[in-house]
Symmetry: C2
Subunit: 622 residues, 2 copies
């Protein structure tokens, strides 16, 4: 009988596992080189088989895919979770000479936990001497952007968003698959061609507040990414232990799993034991931005009593998390005292956890929300570490009946007011959105956000377009997400099949992520992101040519595609067969179409000969 | 060792199984009584628990749900698949005195199969003496509607679409949950209140061609339903054996399974052995309309050689199937010779099976599509049995790149021309639509259909809004389906997770159906079908009040909702607990909201007392 492994042993075991099983089929990890040696942007390229017909052989070029998996997606990388990921941003940050390394942690709680013998076995690679802006300095990407500076982060982002498309657009091997329909972008400032996706474009969008690059100076492991209406639509995956379940390694494993499938950012929503330590391990091993909801931890510190929350306690929590490297904070500063009674006649009241905590606090104290009254002080903290705001929608509707009501839109206008204030500090902002909204009312959410929040990036949870399908809410929300992404939402917070019912397991996370990847991609196609259709075209060409393996490889979830195929026709030969399981070998529409095409080709040849003949004939009469 | 049971034994076993396991939790099967005794419209009512708080007990009234499950959803019914379902329409049909019972089958193939000793063991309860319109008569629902006749079928449909809503709207027990947002119906003629959903409304919509009631006079077992833009959005489920798999009982079982989850019609797309016998068994046991693609069977009869198809062979197949009771035929009469070359430069050519068969035939013979040239003769057959057209989109796009192209829209215009022609015969028509269409191009499909096909009901396959997610195409298509349903599509053909990859198993059928139920419901909410929001409101109220069991019962898939809940919190007590698994007992936004609501209530009380005090005070000074 073996004892349960310690957290330390679990982490070692996971380190060994990672990197082996996380390779996508037929894929190469490549790096796009920036203007300096340490700007190396990861990309996955999917190799394709040749098309072989009686007429010969055609090469199908590799298809590049935006890659969120960090070093975990690099088969040559050695993974050691206890060391954390390489600190690729360190030089970029220190070269700016506007930060200082502190002699220790600034937050009381951080100091306490750092010296707590009971949690010593959970501490591995903490930051003990964090960075902070030097007095009088502002280290946000927005601040640099507004002063005209293109940071390495911005260049990284530009290369990443472009993903080799400029080169591909000039390469004749891709000519058959670069066709793309015009998008409908509802007045967005989208690039019209891959060559417009430049570092300067990134800078200008960040300066205008239309995009953010969440990048805490204490998260040097980060591979920068951008969230904005005029870039690819992003998705967020949530994780976090709760009072019901718990294990540090499990959370790290879930994170890597979510990155493998394509999460662009991760929110750590832990509410259970060892929040502080879990978060540290997630950040040290995360190549993507990490977001949190600091009020959750603050509430834990009061023993769950919302009335006992204080600005001082919250402030200490912000600093604690900022010094760990959290990249964005959800702050429910728009839940104003006067909005709370507007929710009393709702069908489902206040469903946001943060929103209900603040509402309860406001009522208990008969005072305005301290996140609102201390907003300038919060901005001072944000700009000292470059933590971005994700202004929380604490009054979002919890059912379609409550959508687009006075409480929701009142709060949204306040978030706009706070956006303007944050921008006075050059602090980056995105705005959280609903929730539950029927299809015909989705657009209004986007329109109101663009108007009242000045095009700050919108970040929505779904929305779910009906309430009647618990167990399928990744789909009810995926429908709303694709639509609102098309209308201009910059990031979509995923919903798993377990939403409203329980905590997601690994398969739920995978299903949730893939559903949101496809919704985000549908939005990119619809708004007309240049090059978005390349992968669709490549996959469809493979499908039409019966390159089954390429169809699997080019899909968002190659494993599932292949296993579904094999469930009907498991034989290896069937993967190269010129028919499929739906119709059988004798009766196949794609096969018939190929014959039609050959026929049309032949006919065209005859017509040309006929024209030639007539022309020659005409000559006879001359 | 037991031998494999015979088909006959399998059917007996299945008969025994049905009715036992198919009950939804806490549900009653009720019947709405029409103007005559034999109009009894099935409905499911979901009973709810009371709301119990410190302040007392509140009754939550039962929620009616449109029910497609026929007798299989009636726990008191005895099921015998060998007898088939009761022939509820027989009296309606014979009373019209416009049909005659033939002395035998009219089609050569039907006669041949009826006497084939090799398939004798597969024949159970065939129709051997079918009905046909008397000479000079037309038995279509459209014909009756246009002469101002309200048939029992139309009355049945009106009661079914209304589903008790008029009564509910007057019942004070429902007052809290009848709130509904205004829809956006894009110029549709939707009823604005439940009391407008009348038999006369149904008649007028059928007469105008905006809706169809597929109801073959040889399908007396049918519970009538309607497909039209101004009614609830419907969904179709496909089934059918293929050369790869086969079993008659399995197909019947799959049908009942699809009905249990909510399919409004079933298409039998069989291409394998015993097509004829399988179809007979499906129809005799189906309470919903059955659609087929007759060209599939015609092709089988030629041994799979498209060039060998003839009008005579096809005609015999139409009659064979019409006399079995098929309710609608997909006919690819719009695949014209001149459109075929337009597909040659597509990325994925022709992907419709029927379309590619006809294209090949046209090219091989250098002749116009015989379905087009013989269209009037087809109409003569359709009106003799009341088979509805589902005019097939043989040139639908197989990838987003090919969407909305000349070939697709050329064919659509021809379908409009054929619609006008069919309507001259008073034959009912719906129009099939795509396919693969990116989100920004979906609307155009609906607009073109409404314009060129004169608002004949649109019946679309998805559309899939991206090509890159095989394995998840129920979702990529569910997004397109919800949108196009909102825009005005009347019926959505489901897509399962196995689309493009293999044949769906039972779980895939369930997932596909539920996905399409939620998409259709999202469309009903969005266009503003009166009462559509009732179930959402009831479920959300249950959710907010921690009536977990009601939340499961009111959902589209109660089994899955409950099992997902139990995966995290399996204890029976957790289903009545005032918290849920996402946050744990100490930290629950819904619980906090209830406190906020109590608080607001108390405050309101204080304010009222204060107002009272001031008023009394004022009195003192008088």
């Amino acid at each position: 009988m073996s004892a349960k492994p310690t957290e330390s042993q679990q982490l070692d075991n996971l380190s060994q596992d990672l990197g082996i099983r996380f390779a996508y089929p037929n894929s190469d990890r490549i790096y796009l080189q920036g203007s300096r040696n340490d700007i190396r942007v990861p990309l996955r390229e999917i190799r394709q088989d040749d098309t072989v017909t009686e007429r010969g052989r055609e090469t199908n070029p590799p298809i590049p895919v935006y890659d969120t998996s960090g070093l975990y997606g690099d088969p040559s990388a050695a993974i050691n979770l206890k060391h954390g990921l390489p600190q690729i941003r360190s030089a970029w940050i220190t070269e700016r000479s506007d930060t200082e390394q502190l002699s220790g942690l600034s937050s009381e709680y951080g100091q306490e936990r750092a010296h707590d013998p009971k949690t010593a076995h959970l501490r591995f690679n903490q930051i003990t001497r964090p960075l902070r802006a030097k007095a009088g300095h502002n280290v946000t990407q927005m601040h640099y952007a507004r002063r005209g500076i293109i940071t390495p982060e911005m260049e990284f982002v530009a290369l990443r968003e472009q993903s080799k498309l400029e080169q591909i657009w000039r390469d004749p091997r891709y000519a058959k698959i670069t066709k793309q329909h015009a998008g409908e972008a509802f007045g967005a400032n989208l690039p019209q061609h891959p060559d417009q996706i430049t570092p300067e474009f990134v800078r200008a969008e960040v300066a205008a507040g239309r995009a953010i690059i969440p990048a805490n100076i204490n998260h040097p492991e980060l591979e920068p990414m951008i969230i904005g209406r005029n870039f690819r639509v992003k998705i967020n995956g949530n994780l976090g232990n709760s009072a019901v379940t718990s294990s540090l390694t499990e959370e790290v494993e879930k994170m890597v799993w979510a990155l493998r499938w394509g999460a662009d950012t991760i929110m750590d929503l832990s509410t259970g034991a060892h929040i502080h330590e879990t978060r540290e391990w997630i950040i040290r091993n995360s190549p993507v931005p990490i977001g949190t909801v600091p009020i959750y931890q603050a509430l834990e510190k009061t023993g769950g009593i919302a009335e006992d929350l204080t600005w001082e306690l919250f402030r200490d929590t912000l600093i604690e998390q900022a010094e760990q490297g959290v990249d964005y904070f959800t702050i429910h500063a728009g839940v104003l005292l006067r909005y709370v009674p507007l929710t009393a006649n709702r069908l489902t009241g206040i469903v946001s956890r943060g929103g209900s905590i603040m509402a309860k606090w406001c009522l208990a104290h008969h005072q305005e929300n301290f996140l609102y009254t201390h907003f300038d002080e919060i901005c001072e903290i944000m700009k000292a570490y470059d933590v971005s705001f994700s202004l929380g929608d604490g009054l979002r509707p919890g059912c379609v009946a409550d959508s687009n009501d006075e409480a929701q839109f009142g709060e949204l206008r306040t978030l706009g007011e706070l956006t303007a204030k944050a921008w006075q500090h050059d602090v980056q902002v995105m705005i959280e959105g609903p929730g539950h909204v029927p299809l015909q009312r989705v657009k209004q959410n986007m329109t109101e956000e663009l108007q009242h929040c000045f095009e700050a990036p919108f970040y929505t949870l779904g929305p779910l377009v009906t309430d009647i399908a618990p167990g399928y809410d990744h789909i009810t929300s995926g429908i709303g997400a694709a639509n609102i992404g098309w209308y201009g939402t910059a990031m979509l917070c995923y919903v798993t099949p377990k939403e409203h019912l329980g905590l997601p397991d690994k398969e739920d996370v995978r299903t949730g992520i893939i559903t949101y990847k496809l919704a985000a991609h549908a939005a990119d196609l619809a708004k007309g992101w240049p090059g978005a259709q390349l992968r669709d075209n490549a996959l469809s060409k493979a499908r039409f040519e019966f390159r089954w393996r390429d169809q699997f490889r080019l899909s968002l979830d190659p494993e599932r595609a292949e296993s579904f195929h094999d469930a009907t026709l498991p034989a290896e030969g069937a993967k190269t067969a010129h028919f499929c399981s739906m119709c059988g070998p004798k009766f196949c529409s794609m096969k018939i179409t190929q014959e039609v095409r050959d026929y049309a080709e032949a006919q065209k040849g005859m017509q040309e000969k006929s024209v030639e003949f007539i022309q020659n004939g005409s000559a006879l009469y001359r």
